[in-house]
Each structure stands twice: as C-alpha cells, then as structure tokens.
C-alpha cells in the first residue's frame, strides 16, 4: 500500500525557535494516525503544515500527491483533497448549519443549491444532527458545533482528514459524541491524522501512534506502543496521561 502522506526530515522555525527539527513519518491510505506528545512538542505545527497553513522550511512533505515543499503547489486542489477540523470549531457564526456546510461545495465546486443541499443532508446525517440544519452555531453545544465542523469538512469529500485537538475545548460529557463520529469515520475507511490528548481513543482507533517530543518523532509504531513503550520518555508520558 502506498503512503498518502509522506514526511521526510521536515523542518520549521518561527523566528529563532525551531519547532520541527526533522520530522519523518508515513501514513497509508485508510489508516488512522494519532500524533501525541506534550504541549510544545510541535505536533499541532506538523499538522498545520500538512494543510499548508504553515510553510515548511526544510525537508519534503507529500500529501495526497501534492508536494508541499514546492512553492508552486496547487493550494486549491490540495484543499479539495484535505479536510481539517480545529480545536475551536471555527464555524461561521453568521451562517446556519446548512449554509456552513453548503458554502464550500457551492463556491469552490460550483454546485447548484439543490445538489449542495443533498450533500449537506448526507454529511449531517453522518454526524447525527439532521434536526439542527437551520440552527445558528451559537444555538448548539460545543460538541454539536464540532460535529457540524466535521460535517462541513466531509462535504468537500476529502481524501484525508486532519483533526487538531478537536476535543480539547469540550467538557468530558461532550467529548464522547465527537469521538464516536470520528470512530465511525475511521470505520468507513477515511484516512485520518489526529493530534490528540485522548489516549484511550488513540489506543482504540489508531493504526499508528506517533509520539513527538522536542520537534522530532521520538517513538512510532502500532497502538501497542502505548501499552509497551520502548522509550522511557513515552512510558513517562503515557503514565502521566493516565493520571488525568
């Protein structure tokens, strides 16, 4: 199976601060990869680079066939292939749920209202919020907003979904409903990369766990490495996480 995501020695600095110090890993089609690590380990930056919200300064990055280290990369088609969901949902507050979801299919893919509505109906059903189509984001709970944000990304039929700590802003009760949606997506065969603090979820759903530390991949493997870490640093991180 060929990798859909390939990072080789990726480097990124903000001013003098080097955040990514040579990150290398692959993700295959249909795989779920969980990136874990302490705050400041560079995991969110790595994810943002994959959608080119940040540009990389060294190494190479291949995402769904797009060479992100190339200045001439076709951003429009990259963003058709890649969906991203943020910690803070970032729904458009002046639009209803339906309008949020239909905006990109209509503007970017040039779909007619009816066609876009059909897609919206499909993706909103996937996240179980059919009855909220005409609500504004402020009328929804955080968990519901995050599910709408997932649906909004799915409407563009991406080949790869990125999740940037999508449950970190949620109460524990609301976390579950978002994780269930993501688990279903994974079961449907979506390729997913998630930056997460949810160890139990990573253990259950991830095919591949990438432990980042100090701007590098410190340990990587199947989710078994969370049970039997090879390095003392990951062992310490896992036991710390378990205490929370």
């Amino acid at each position: 199976m060929s990798p859909i995501v390939e990072l080789k020695d990726v480097r990124k600095s903000f001013g003098d601060l080097e955040v990514l110090k040579g990150v290398t890993f692959d993700v295959n089609r249909g795989e779920v990869a969980a990136i874990i690590g302490q705050s400041g380990s560079g995991k969110s930056t790595a994810l943002r680079c994959m959608d080119r919200l940040e540009t990389i300064q060294g190494g190479s990055m291949l995402i769904c066939g797009h060479e992100l280290h190339d200045d001439d990369v076709d951003l429009k088609s990259l963003r058709r292939d890649v969906g991203i969901v943020f910690q803070s949902y970032n729904l458009f507050p002046h639009l209803t749920v339906a309008q949020n979801i239909m905006l990109a299919p209509r503007m970017v893919k040039g779909m007619k209202q009816r066609q876009a509505r059909e897609i919206a109906d499909t993706v909103i059903a996937k996240v179980g919020l059919r009855e909220k189509m005409d609500c504004y984001p402020e009328q929804l709970s955080g968990g519901q907003q995050q599910r709408v944000a997932i649906a909004r990304s799915l409407a563009m039929e991406p080949k790869l979904m990125l999740f940037d700590e999508v449950t970190s802003a949620l109460d524990p009760q609301l976390t579950g409903e978002v994780l269930r949606v993501m688990e279903q997506l994974a079961a449907d065969g979506m390729t997913m990369i998630l930056v997460t603090h949810e160890m139990a979820f990573a253990r259950k759903v991830a095919d591949r766990v990438i432990y980042m530390r100090d701007g590098k991949v410190h340990e990587m493997g199947s989710s078994d490495i969370l049970r039997t870490p090879a390095t003392p640093e990951l062992a310490a991180f896992v036991s710390e996480s378990a205490e929370h």
């Binding site: 919200l53 429009k76 963003r79 058709r80 969906g83 970032n90 458009f92 507050p93 503007m107 990304s153």
Partner: protein
C-alpha cells in the same frame, strides 16, 4: 423672525443633507476600497493605502476644501463649483477615516475564521465576501454611524471656504442682515441637533445590541 429667513434656513438644511449624503456615498465607496487595500497582503497596496490615510488624516479639512476649490484653477483647469469641490474634499477626508475604521473591523474578525475558510478551498475574495465582510459589517455599524455624525457637522466647513450655501452659511448671511445671532445660529444649532442626535442614539443602541452578540 420672518418666513423668508426661515425658508432660507430650511434651504440651508437641505443643502447640508445633500452634501452629507453625497459624502456618505462617495466617502463610503472610496473608504471601502481603502479599507480593503489596507488589509491587502501585497505590501505596495497596503502601504499605499496607509500613506493615503496618513496624509488625509494629517490635513485639516479646511485646507483640503481650499485645495479642492482653488487647486484646479491654479493648475490651469476649470475650477470646480462649490458642491462638487466640497463633496470631493469631504470624500477624501471621510474615506481616510472610514477606511481606517473598516480596516479595524476586518481585522477584528478572528483569524481562525479566515483559516477555516481558506482550508475549505475558498479563494481570497470568496473568503472576504462570504465569511469576513458579513461579520465585519456587524462590528462596523456602530463606529460608522458615529462617524456620520462627524460628517454632518463638518459639512459646515464648506461654507467657510467654497461658499456652499448650506445651513451654517445661510445662518451667517441672515445674521449679517438681522444682527440676531442668538436666534438664527440657535435655530441652525437645533437643526444640526435634529439630524445628529437620532444618529448618535442609533449608534449607541446598535453598539449595545451588537455587543451582546459579540462572540
């Protein structure tokens, strides 16, 4: 107080309203472009807009009026008549302020909104139109209405330089004939107040209303 004077003041009031409306229209249009240019990622454009704003804000409106009125004839062109000259000067003046106000409003829409739209594949103009401007508009209404009050009052400067017969100008002429400044300037003041006060009230009401919705 006779009816001819009252009529003259009402004519002046009308002229003030006309000049104010023209200024809102043209100042708003130019200001919108200046505001967009100010937020442009292209250095030359944003710097150019910033320079325009700095120059226009650094000149007294009185001087701008003089330049617009006398400038063309000094340069050998036909001179502008009072209303176009005053409109031109007020447009330069108000577009700089409105551009700066609206730049702030565009910037005030959270950065993540911009990123979310970007990641969905919307191009720069689509992001502006569908995501940023509708949200910036809500923020912009109170300060914009507030600035409109300034414009209404500043139209009186047109009487000093270009001799446009608006409210202050007519009040001055009547006073020259009657020597009753308290009466006629008083009436003029009430007329200004009658335009500006509703705008101010509206501005404050909008601010309260929109602040509640500020998320």
């Amino acid at each position: 107080m006779n009816s001819a004077y009252t009529f003259s003041l009402l004519q002046g009031l009308w002229a003030t309203v006309v000049l104010s409306m023209l200024t809102f229209l043209f100042g708003g249009l130019v200001g919108f472009i200046v505001g967009l240019a100010r937020t442009s990622p292209t250095w030359v454009i944003s710097r150019g807009a910033a320079a325009y704003i700095e120059i226009m804000q650094g000149l007294p409106l009185l001087v701008l009026m003089g330049l617009c009125f006398y400038g063309p004839s000094i340069l050998g062109y036909d001179s502008l008549s009072p209303l176009p000259a005053a409109t031109f000067a007020l447009t330069l003046y108000s577009s700089a302020y409105l551009g700066e106000i609206w730049r702030g409003c565009i910037r005030a829409v959270a950065r993540p909104q911009w990123e979310a739209a970007e990641c969905l594949g919307l191009n720069r103009w689509q992001r502006m139109r569908a995501v940023i401007l509708p949200q910036a508009l809500r923020i912009a209404i109170p300060p914009t209405v507030g600035f409109m009050v300034q414009i209404v009052k500043n139209t009186s400067i047109a009487s000093l330089v270009v001799g446009y017969a608006e409210l202050s100008y007519n009040a001055k002429i009547i006073n020259n004939a009657t020597f009753e400044p308290f009466l006629y300037f008083g009436i003029a003041a009430l007329m200004y107040f009658a335009i500006c006060y509703p705008l101010s009230v509206q501005s404050r009401a909008l601010e309260r209303k929109l602040n509640v919705a500020n998320r």
